[in-house]
């Protein structure tokens, strides 16, 4: 029993690290420009399909598709902000939510039209490579995804804390800085918003590549991941990378427990229930003030 529990927790923690990375882009757009990107899951989905097809057609290692995905989804993010989100920013939060929801619908529809309702799995050797750490067994795919996630989140963290551009972005955030003051000192807020969603896209590209190595790919895969990302971001609070990471780990473990209690197909039930409880108890997140 104890080793099963240890296994669930270890696996949950690894999965949670990946959740934290997947949620990073969503948290950036939400925390900095109050845009809740409902298409975030579909950005991850597009990266997953790209990885699948590149691996199948070119026979390369899935990790080599990461640079392509970063550029691809960053470009999608750039154009989303420029032509879809920015024009409706004045309409408030609901207008941007509806617009990105429309985008997500288009992307799901495209995926269905192009690749049908099939489930794909990227052919790669990593899920079958099982590593033993004491009583815990983890696949190389999960472990590598976890290491990449921690690395990328750290990079994003350093970018925001150390570089001028990162600080400028934070300054325009309503939570951490002040958009009006930021524009007074000469920060071009529109450009910053463009950069933020581009960055969010890039991080979704990384996440999608990693997830594609061990997760099934189907048109609605984005919905499940998008909901997980919402939960992680709300639980983690909007203004904290550490909170995001811890929230990811908690959700990962919860999902593992959910799989034991309800079965793998319904493992998200516990996560969604936790979401409602968090909204009730700590709507500003674990790290936020009440």
């Amino acid at each position: 029993m104890l080793d099963v529990l240890a296994q669930i927790i270890a696996f949950g923690l690894v999965l949670g690290g990946i959740y934290a990375l997947a949620a990073t882009g969503l948290g950036l757009a939400w925390g900095i420009m109050h845009v809740i990107n409902f298409a975030h899951g579909e950005w991850i989905m597009i990266a997953m399909y790209t990885t699948y097809w590149l691996v199948v057609l070119l026979g390369i290692d899935p990790f080599w598709t990461m640079p392509i995905n970063i550029v691809l989804v960053a470009v999608i993010g750039y154009f989303t902000q420029k032509y879809l989100v920015e024009p409706v920013m004045k309409g408030g939060a609901l207008a941007t939510i509806l617009t990105t929801f429309g985008l997500s619908s288009i992307m799901v529809g495209l995926a269905q039209a192009l690749w049908k309702q099939n489930y794909y799995a990227t052919p790669n050797p990593y899920p079958a490579m099982v590593l033993r750490l004491g009583i815990i067994r983890l696949s190389a795919a999960h472990l590598m995804a976890f290491i990449f996630s921690v690395a990328v989140i750290s990079l994003v963290y350093i970018f925001f804390k150390k570089t001028f551009t990162g600080k400028a972005i934070l300054a325009t955030s309503e939570l951490i800085g002040d958009p009006e003051v930021a524009s007074l000192v000469g920060i071009n807020t529109e450009k910053i918003r463009l950069l933020t969603l581009t960055l969010a896209g890039a991080s979704a590209g990384v996440a999608g590549t990693l997830i594609a190595t061990f997760y099934y790919i189907y048109p609605y895969v984005g919905l499940a991941w998008c909901l997980i990302c919402f939960v992680v971001v709300v639980l983690g609070g909007l203004a904290s990378f550490l909170g995001l990471f811890i929230a990811g780990l908690i959700i990962g473990v919860l999902e593992g427990l959910g799989a034991i209690i309800f079965g793998t197909a319904y493992s998200y039930l516990l996560v969604y229930a936790a979401f409602l409880i968090v909204l009730y108890l700590r709507p500003r997140g674990l790290m936020g003030r009440r």
């Binding site: 929801f101 619908s105 269905q112």
Partner: protein
């Protein structure tokens, strides 16, 4: 004479409304006489989805709370009445009210934690709870029959909410729509409607002048969930077969949202127009493309949402009203 009549009607009820009502009753009857049963069926769907979007609009149009999970309320209504019907032989005429009560319970679960908060948490919670309800319906297959769904017995008896003639279905849907529209119109002019609109425009300000925003938002949510669930019972009876995939998906919620948005939110005539436009388009696309082009409707829905939010945030209702008024004046 005609002018005098017109003057009378303008005082009693709005002339636009009366014209729409006469057309709503006459058009399906004409198609029925001509033997075009499919058209009557499509009109039934138009009335029904207008009814559902009307319920959704109570929440979004009046209270400014965006729900992505109305399919869950629809599904609960459909499942409650169908389970009671197939397992216990209870007439859906009674079962629908129990479905409505179940939907209210769900509304409290989702609304209680989120409606206290400002902002968009409610919208996020609705999408999560709708997924939860769908997963639970799949999971508890000993009650719900899981992914296979429930096939309703055919009785063709009005006692069991079933009709032989498609026109009767159509008029039932119209009746439900009219009752709900009447209630919505009453809400619009009542103190509840005023409070809700104040909350929609500026929640902070509304609460500072003493409006209990949580209470009013909750009332709007309960009304909305209740009427949507009643609609779910109707939908189950009309189609005779429900699955989680047909009544509980995000796609269903999306259709409800689009009908509301396209028609115009905040007025009771908006969803009716939205339904006319969207259902006609959808059935036409379905009839021409068939089932072979999966996903095309989703692309179309997505484009529609983006365009409406961008180009006409108030929907088509103001444009149509202006056009109608111009016609009536001349």
């Amino acid at each position: 004479m005609l002018e005098k009549l017109g003057e009378l009607y303008r005082k009693v009820i709005s002339p636009t409304f009366l014209i729409v009502l006469i057309l709503a009753v006459l058009i399906p009857a004409i198609f029925r006489v001509l033997g075009l049963y499919y058209v009557v069926y499509v009109i039934t769907l138009i009335y029904f989805w207008a009814y559902v979007a009307q319920s959704w609009n109570i929440l979004y149009g009046y209270a400014g709370q965006l729900s992505f999970g109305h399919a869950a309320f629809l599904g609960i209504g459909a499942y409650a009445s169908s389970i009671l019907f197939t397992k216990y032989g209870l007439s859906p005429w009674i079962g629908m009210w129990i479905g409505g009560a179940c939907a209210c319970l769900l509304a409290i679960i989702v609304g209680y934690p989120t409606l206290k908060l400002r902002g968009v948490y409610f919208a996020l919670a609705t999408i999560a709870i709708a997924e939860m309800v769908r997963l639970l319906t799949l999971k508890f297959d000993f009650i719900t029959n899981g992914p296979l769904g429930i096939i309703l017995p055919i009785t063709r008896s009005p006692l069991y909410f079933q009709f032989e003639d498609v026109l009767h279905w159509c008029y039932t849907a119209l009746g439900m729509l009219l009752i709900l529209s009447y209630i919505c119109q009453k809400i619009e002019t009542s103190s509840l409607g005023i409070a809700l609109r104040a909350i929609r425009e500026d929640e902070e300000a509304a609460s500072s002048i003493g409006i209990d925003t949580f209470k009013y938002k909750m009332i709007a949510l309960l009304l909305s969930a209740f009427f949507t669930a009643l609609g779910g019972a109707f939908f189950a009876q009309l189609t005779g077969y429900i699955r989680p995939d047909t009544v509980m998906t995000l796609e269903r919620s999306e259709e409800i949202i689009i009908i509301g948005l396209v028609g115009g939110t905040g007025t009771f005539l908006g969803p009716i127009m939205g339904s006319m436009i969207l259902i006609t388009l959808r059935q036409t696309i379905l009839a021409f493309l068939g089932g072979g082009y999966a996903g095309v409707h989703l692309i179309f829905y997505g484009l529609l949402i983006i365009l409406v939010v961008r180009m006409m945030p108030e929907g088509v209702y103001p444009y149509i009203r202006r056009a109608l008024e111009a016609v009536l004046k001349s």
